[in-house]
């Protein structure tokens, strides 16, 4: 049977495609590639920390590596991975549409992403930036490394993000299937709606401030040079005005994924559909008002610190609503413990632990000790990376049959999930303790007293790498040797499973009629 993969097979048919599914697949392949690149940087960084002094690389190279690790992981993996990859693929299908609202613009967003990625990678190869992914001036204005290509690369990537956001919002408003009200949409669509708002409102601000750093760095404008009336602190305010909400760009889509997988695997309606949908907007809104918690020791006023502290805890309240709802959804379900759900367990642990340490750092006095130490590194790796990565892998396994038409190997899948979880905790849990002990981040050299925990963390990174490698190899092997996937291997009620695997080019063989909700597990599944 013809599907979106075999309807046309030339390379040009992929490069010029306007099919949201193919664009989604190309995004998924690209971000996986960059996950590998960023991961290799991370492994070298961890190796360097095996000993307190020089181990493997020079101090200068170390500084470049942690900068590039951050830039690649944040803008080339975490931000695009789920929205541009899975979002592109599944949003129109879940809404019963043939494509997104602006298919040509969608293709443009892929090309803009690649241009941005090439600029960034060029910056990696040629005297790479050593500013840290936060690009704080005045250091970033003065560094002798080439910060400009990386800054411009991120600037260009921002456009890709904005276009995707515009496309999703328009699609959700205009292309829902006949009779589908907003409150009938799958929860993944709500998550994408929330994230699109942040992308559209936040990303331009990042673009502006990064361009200002380019002007400072390349043309010596002195915008952040106090000797010429500039203010380094204003950079931090504007940078975090975007970059804190950016954390929610990274975490809201994973939350959507979790909502889908928990209901599908438990075969139960969400404990509260409205709570999950509304809390998304709570996070998106309050998320814009918390940026100052990155700056409690920067010299900001005490009043500001207090306000930003309490607002930051507000985000945790909305997140807690979601966590309770997911957990409660399992109650009285008919739970299939399969690879995607094992990843969701990992997600829940990393997300709650990471989130609660977030509440801890929002208690202003504790943050003074933790700020810019490994505690913060561990905190944001738990919540932003751990949660996003496990949700990404959960989604990859959950939707693998639909995307590729092949089943992954269940046993290997569970083994990979357990390795990834143990590796992740092994890598980052010691870093909480390192931060407690007072080891600052971005340290090439450290005191001997920190070595034991660093060795543990490095060992953990090898387990994590092994787990990810196992996932990659077994998934690729399943393309060759995997069983053919049925249309609905999970007995899910969600709409994307109502079409064959892989879906035809037009998403559904005939115009779909959604007569029941995506979470109506109290009704038996009709034969497809």
């Amino acid at each position: 049977m013809k599907n979106y993969l075999n309807c046309e097979t030339t390379i040009w048919s992929w490069l010029s495609t306007k099919d949201h599914k193919r664009i989604g697949v190309m995004f998924l392949v690209s971000v996986t590639l960059f996950l590998l690149v960023g991961g290799v940087f991370a492994l070298i960084l961890r190796l360097e920390h095996l000993t307190p002094g020089p181990t493997l690389v020079s101090p200068n190279m170390y500084n470049q590596l942690f900068t590039l690790h951050g830039v690649v992981m944040v803008w080339l993996f975490l931000i695009p991975a789920i929205p541009a990859g899975f979002g592109n693929f599944f949003l129109p299908i879940m809404l019963g549409a043939k494509d997104v609202a602006f298919p040509r613009l969608n293709l443009a967003s892929l090309y803009i992403f690649w241009i941005g990625a090439i600029l960034t990678i060029y910056g990696v190869l040629d005297r790479a930036a050593d500013t840290g992914w936060t690009f704080y001036p005045p250091y970033s204005s003065q560094t002798y490394t080439k910060a400009t290509p990386v800054l411009l690369g991120v600037f260009v990537l921002g456009w890709s993000t904005i276009i995707t956001g515009v496309n999703f919002i328009t699609t959700i408003h205009t292309l829902r299937a006949k009779g589908m009200r907003f409150m009938d949409m799958p929860l993944f669509a709500w998550a994408l709606y929330g994230v699109s708002i942040i992308q559209i409102l936040g990303t331009p601000v990042l673009g502006i401030i990064l361009l200002m750093v380019v002007m400072d760095h390349s043309f010596d404008w002195g915008l952040f040079d106090p000797a010429r009336g500039g203010d380094p602190l204003i950079y931090q305010h504007i940078f975090w005005f975007y970059s804190h909400p950016a954390v929610y760009i990274m975490i809201l889509p994973p939350m959507g994924v979790v909502s889908e997988i928990v209901t599908s695997m438990a075969h139960k309606n969400p404990l509260s559909y409205k709570a999950i949908a509304y809390s998304t907007f709570g996070i998106a809104f309050v998320g814009f008002l918390t940026w100052g918690h990155h700056m409690f020791t920067s010299g900001m006023s005490e009043l500001n610190a207090g306000i930003f502290g309490i607002l930051s805890m507000g985000v945790a309240v909305f997140s807690a609503i979601k966590v309770f709802t997911w957990t409660g959804t399992l109650y009285r379900g008919s739970v299939w413990i399969r690879t995607p759900l094992v990843y969701i367990f990992a997600f829940l642990f990393l997300f709650i632990f990471g989130g609660m340490t977030g509440v801890a750092v929002a208690a202003t006095s504790l943050d003074v000790h933790w700020h810019d130490t490994y505690f913060v590194v561990a905190h944001f790796h738990f919540i932003m990376v751990g949660a996003s990565l496990t949700a990404f892998l959960a989604a990859l396994h959950y939707w693998w049959p639909k995307i590729t038409g092949k089943m992954y190997f269940e046993g290997w899948g569970v083994a990979g999930a357990i390795l990834v979880f143990l590796g992740f905790v092994g890598t980052f849990f010691p870093q909480f303790l390192l931060g407690n002990a007072g080891m600052p981040r971005r340290y090439y050299h450290y005191s001997e007293q920190f070595q034991a925990l660093n060795v543990l963390s490095t060992a953990g990174s090898w387990v994590l790498a092994l787990g990810l490698l196992l996932v990659l190899v077994t998934l690729i092997w399943s393309l060759v040797a995997g069983e053919k996937a049925p249309a609905n291997p999970w007995n899910s009620r969600s709409y994307e499973w109502m079409t064959p695997s892989p879906p035809p080019k037009e998403n559904f063989p005939e115009t779909p009629r959604f007569v029941r909700g995506p979470y109506d597990y109290h009704l038996p599944l009709e034969p497809p």
Partner: protein
């Protein structure tokens, strides 16, 4: 209990007046965090196993369960109250940490790439070693000379960024004498991780004696600095292993020894080694008058003129293979100190090979009139004595 929890969490010693109460909040918050995360995780696992699927038929259904408002609202109210408690306690601590007491003594702090400078109202100046009296409130008035740094003393639970063009304050009271590490916590470039120092808290009497000029070594053994600086300095046991800015009264010594001390005090040795190992900057061993390739392709003789220019305008003639990261020392080195450093470089370089003699010309050209050959040595000596007497009264 406090000590057990502190060790369990790998927290450093509590050496300031605020450390203990901050740690208490820490135990409370982290304890609840761990219990909460584990609890929800176990609930999810338990329900997944308790309600695992027994039928995989497409026709099987599950009951529709909706959360009651009371359950969700109750959980949320509990969380909100809990978070507000965290915040109230944390923020009141934060205010106390930020607002210095009126009776505090003042030390002025300057961060620069990559060292901490401390200046006392009494006129004393130190580098990387902040000497304070124990049990007395100390207010730091802080700024930076170049990029953003952050003054961090883990044992005090104190941290404050320093920005160029701004002055910020922080304060602490060390509760017992001892030596506590200072780190730079805000990434500031190449040697960020070597921007270490120490707070030395002395008994009040000892502090007074130190202010009056008694060497710090009389009171405390300074711990070694970061590995990079130790590699870089290559100093003997007679000098501290890391640049320490306490200039002590000195007995007569050679100019090269003085240069060694200046190089340590001014931070040169953080980047230049004396033992031949290339580091952030070129080594000083065997540098004297050697041919040195520059980044722009020229080859230059590293003579006094070049070395001096390199100290004052380091970016102008960069040695090949090294990053342009050296700050200028214009105005930071006394002319005599420049001389001492040159003398140090000369002393650790192999003596220059005597240049091969030019082959004797076959025919000696006749000397022009008035040239040295005609000068009577005795007459010349007389002339020199006369002129020098005229210059020095």
């Amino acid at each position: 209990m406090n000590d057990f929890l502190r060790r369990l969490l790998f927290l450093p010693e509590q050496a300031s007046s605020v450390a203990r109460e901050i740690d208490t909040l820490h135990y409370f918050v982290i304890g609840i965090t761990m219990v909460g995360a584990t609890g929800v995780f176990i609930a999810a696992l338990w329900w997944s196993i308790r309600y695992r699927a027994r039928s995989f038929e497409a026709s099987s259904t599950t009951p529709q369960v909706q959360a009651g408002l009371a359950v969700e609202g109750g959980l949320l109210a509990f969380l909100v109250v809990l978070f507000i408690v965290f915040w109230v306690v944390g923020f009141s601590q934060y205010l106390r940490m930020r607002i210095p007491p009126r009776d505090a003594m003042v030390v002025y702090v300057t961060g620069k790439q990559w060292m901490w400078k401390f200046a006392y109202p009494e006129g004393k100046q130190t580098i990387n070693t902040l000497v304070v009296p124990a049990n007395r409130n100390v207010q730091l008035v802080m700024t930076s000379r170049d990029v953003i740094h952050s003054f961090y003393v883990p044992a005090f639970r104190v941290k404050q960024d320093v920005l160029p063009g701004r002055y910020y304050t922080t304060w602490f009271r060390a509760t017992r004498p001892g030596t506590y590490r200072i780190y730079c916590a805000e990434y500031c470039g190449l040697s960020h991780s070597a921007m270490w120092g120490d707070v030395v808290a002395l008994e009040a009497d000892d502090y007074e004696r130190w202010l009056e000029g008694e060497p710090l070594e009389n009171f405390v053994q300074l711990p070694p600095g970061p590995p990079m600086a130790r590699v870089a300095t290559g100093l003997g046991p007679d000098l501290p292993a890391y640049p320490r800015g306490i200039a002590e009264a000195s007995q007569p010594r050679s100019m090269a020894d003085w240069g060694r001390e200046v190089a340590a005090l001014k931070g040169c040795l953080a980047c230049h080694t004396l033992d031949g190992q290339p580091h952030i900057g070129p080594t000083w061993r065997n540098l004297w008058y050697r041919e040195t390739p520059l980044a722009d392709g020229r080859v230059i003789i590293a003579d006094e003129a070049y070395l001096t220019r390199s100290m004052m305008d380091p970016m102008l003639e960069l040695v090949q293979g090294y990053a342009p990261v050296m700050p200028t020392y214009q105005g930071l080195l006394e002319p005599a100190e420049v001389g001492a450093i040159l003398e140090l470089i000369r002393s650790i370089s192999e003596p220059l090979p005597t240049p091969a003699r030019a082959p004797e010309p076959l025919v000696r050209p006749p000397l022009p009139p008035g040239s040295l050959d005609r000068v009577d040595p005795a007459r010349a000596l007389e002339f020199i004595r006369e002129t020098s007497e005229r210059v020095t009264p």
